[in-house]
């Protein structure tokens, strides 16, 4: 889990840098700061379990086992990217590891996650689905529809809200009338739990219980993971100003999930400082390889734009 969290952090910081240098095209929504959630949730999942992500999807891809080389190539718009350069940052998917795609429409992925759970039910397997979404998605109709339908059909799905407090520029208290996202679960008669989304072990434990219920056929759960994104909502050519209050930024910076986990690992004697430095070094080597792989991959031929619309 530690390695994955650091990998996501370094991947994301590198992606922002490469975006500014112009090697990565388009918009990048950085997952930096929210690593404990993707990692804590996905540590409970098998390859046969499926997740659906949102626009801030790199962390979910990595945590579900996607290959960082093919991810980087996709961000570069190259032929060897996961989507052959047709998706980019907001649409990375790896169906072979159960990552059914990042998704650029707020709450748009939640019905798709419900569909993955319906598929698990039709298969008669004990596979589960996870729908990741931000606090902003609670304003969308399909969020409420998906909760309702998953409860009615007892779908094996875990709804994971990554409440990073701000939907774009809008603080959650101006976007949601309920006191908390987790409270909404009661309206649909499903378990709802709020946890510290910067505490990977808390996220892991809460997800383990929700996954157990889902595998046993007891239906969906809603998990609200309170967290903070370290960067502006979206990185573009000219990044928009970050209008979040500085005191809140400082509050959350002091609660960064990675140093917190490092202290825990050291105190318990699981990893010492040297071992952590080794992890970081090996991750940076892997990232160098991913960038080299992406850079060596050719751009797709222009006429490839006409392929893949329809199945044969």
């Amino acid at each position: 889990m530690y390695r994955q969290m650091v990998l996501i952090r370094h991947f994301e910081e590198l992606a922002l840098k490469l975006r500014q240098e112009g090697l990565i095209h388009g918009v990048v929504h950085s997952y930096s700061g929210q690593e404990a959630i993707a990692v804590g949730v996905c540590a409970n999942l098998r390859t046969t379990d499926r997740i659906v992500s949102n626009h801030r999807g790199h962390g979910h891809c990595i945590a579900k086992g996607a290959d960082i080389k093919r991810m980087m190539a996709e961000l570069f718009g190259r032929r060897d990217g996961y989507c052959k350069g047709k998706g980019g940052s907001m649409h990375i998917a790896d169906f072979d590891v159960g990552m059914l795609g990042a998704n650029g429409i707020v709450a748009g992925g939640l019905p798709i996650a419900a569909g993955a759970a319906v598929a698990a039910q039709l298969e008669g397997s004990d596979a589960v689905a996870v729908g990741f979404f931000g606090d902003g998605a609670t304003g969308e109709g399909p969020f409420h529809e998906s909760l309702n339908i998953s409860a009615l059909m007892k779908l094996p799905v875990i709804w994971v809200c990554e409440n990073n407090q701000y939907a774009g520029d809008t603080p959650i208290e101006q976007g949601l009338a309920a006191r908390s996202v987790a409270d909404l679960a009661a309206g649909y008669d499903i378990p709802g739990k709020a946890v510290d989304g910067n505490d990977v072990l808390a996220v892991y434990a809460a997800t383990r219980e929700a996954v157990r219920r889902a595998r046993e056929g007891a239906g969906p759960s809603l998990l609200e993971c309170k967290t903070w994104r370290r960067h502006v909502h979206a990185q573009r050519d000219v990044p928009p100003p970050d209008r979040r209050p500085p005191d809140l930024m400082a509050y959350w910076e002091a609660r960064d999930p990675i140093p917190a986990f490092e202290i825990y690992l050291q105190q318990c004697g699981f990893l010492n400082a040297d071992q952590m430095a080794d992890v970081r070094l090996s991750i940076d080597r892997d990232l160098d390889e991913a960038v080299a792989f992406a850079d060596a991959s050719p751009y797709p031929a222009p006429e490839d734009a006409l392929e893949d619309v329809f199945a044969p």
């Binding site: 996961y82 989507c83 790896d94 429409i105 569909g115 298969e123």
Partner: protein
């Protein structure tokens, strides 16, 4: 052969395909009792009135290997799910580089002429035809309804099947065997030599009636039912114009950016066909107004036999 109504033909396509392939399942807010009795609630799902999420569930489960059929009811309600169609179903295969296929059928009743007022009287199919990544079928009669719905269920892409509300009770001979109607192939409903009428969906019937009326005057009208809007069988339409030199498209929709406009564009872009025209092309559409409720108002705006026949006579005057 057996005689079936349009609605019964669609139902029989559903039940045959569900028997044939266990991956086919269906979601509806009011599922067919016969289908439910035969296949049970796991494969015939009764859903709350949540068109968007029903549609997204279809996308998600199709990506996991299932072949969902979503019954939107009327196209009126399908607009609640428009985001899931436009942004997900149409684009997901392409955006993900063809990693998976998304075999989904969306069924939507459409049409006018039932005194149901503006929200429940519309065609909508041009909106869906415009979206890259979606096939659109529009059967006019029972045999095509059964054959096209069966083909749509077996297709590996999202397909919207537009079902004529006014035609539900119309009966037709339908083959009892596995008679598929291929997607993308038009049907010449009546051969003729003087004027080509391309009639969409239920408009085939007033077009055929107008052709009968004109035959008595010595005018030979060819009536073409495209049956599929995406992909459109352009060749059959162009070939007919080579013979007749005159084109009318009958579409019970507003004319702006309509399928009628699209059909005219594919004719105009082909010089070999264009140079064969002996008269201007004509759209017989609705005026660009919402469909009104009161019978004389609704009858005034909808294309009918008299307007179609009158337009044919007008075009004959050009040679």
């Amino acid at each position: 052969m057996t005689t079936l109504s349009y609605a019964a033909a669609l139902e029989s396509a559903m039940s045959e395909e569900m028997r044939r392939d266990s991956r086919v399942y269906t979601m509806a807010t009011s599922p067919s009792p016969a289908l439910l009795a035969e296949h049970g609630p796991m494969r015939v799902k009764r859903m709350p009135i949540s068109e968007a999420t029903m549609t997204g569930i279809a996308v998600g489960s199709a990506g996991c290997g299932y072949r969902p059929v979503v019954h939107w009811g009327s196209v009126t309600f399908a607009f609640m799910a428009f985001d899931q169609v436009v942004n997900q179903a149409c684009k997901i295969r392409y955006m993900f580089g063809g990693q998976r296929d998304f075999p989904i059928v969306f069924r939507a009743r459409y049409g006018n002429g039932t005194r149901s007022a503006a929200q429940h009287s519309q065609t909508g199919y041009a909106l869906y035809a415009h979206l890259a990544g979606l096939k659109v079928v529009l059967p006019s009669g029972a045999a095509d309804a059964k054959g096209l719905l069966k083909s749509a269920i077996r297709d590996n892409n999202p397909v919207v099947c537009f079902e004529a509300g006014r035609g539900e009770a119309l009966e037709e001979e339908v083959a009892e065997d596995d008679a598929l109607v291929p997607i993308g192939v038009a049907s010449v409903k009546r051969p003729g030599t003087d004027v080509t009428i391309v009639a969409l969906g239920y408009m085939v019937y007033p077009a055929l009636a107008a052709a009968d009326e004109l035959a008595a005057e010595g005018t030979s009208v060819e009536v073409i039912d495209p049956r599929t809007l995406v992909p459109l069988d352009v060749d059959t339409i162009r070939k007919s114009i080579h013979k007749t030199g005159r084109l009318i498209v009958v579409d019970e929709s507003a004319p702006i950016c309509s399928m009628a406009s699209e059909i005219m564009a594919v004719v105009a872009e082909d010089w070999d066909t264009c140079r064969k025209l002996r008269a201007p092309v004509r759209r017989v559409c609705m005026p660009a107004v919402p469909v009104p409720f009161s019978p004389p108002l609704e009858d005034f705006v909808l294309p009918d036999q008299a307007r179609i026949a009158g337009t044919v006579r007008e075009l004959l005057g050009y040679s």
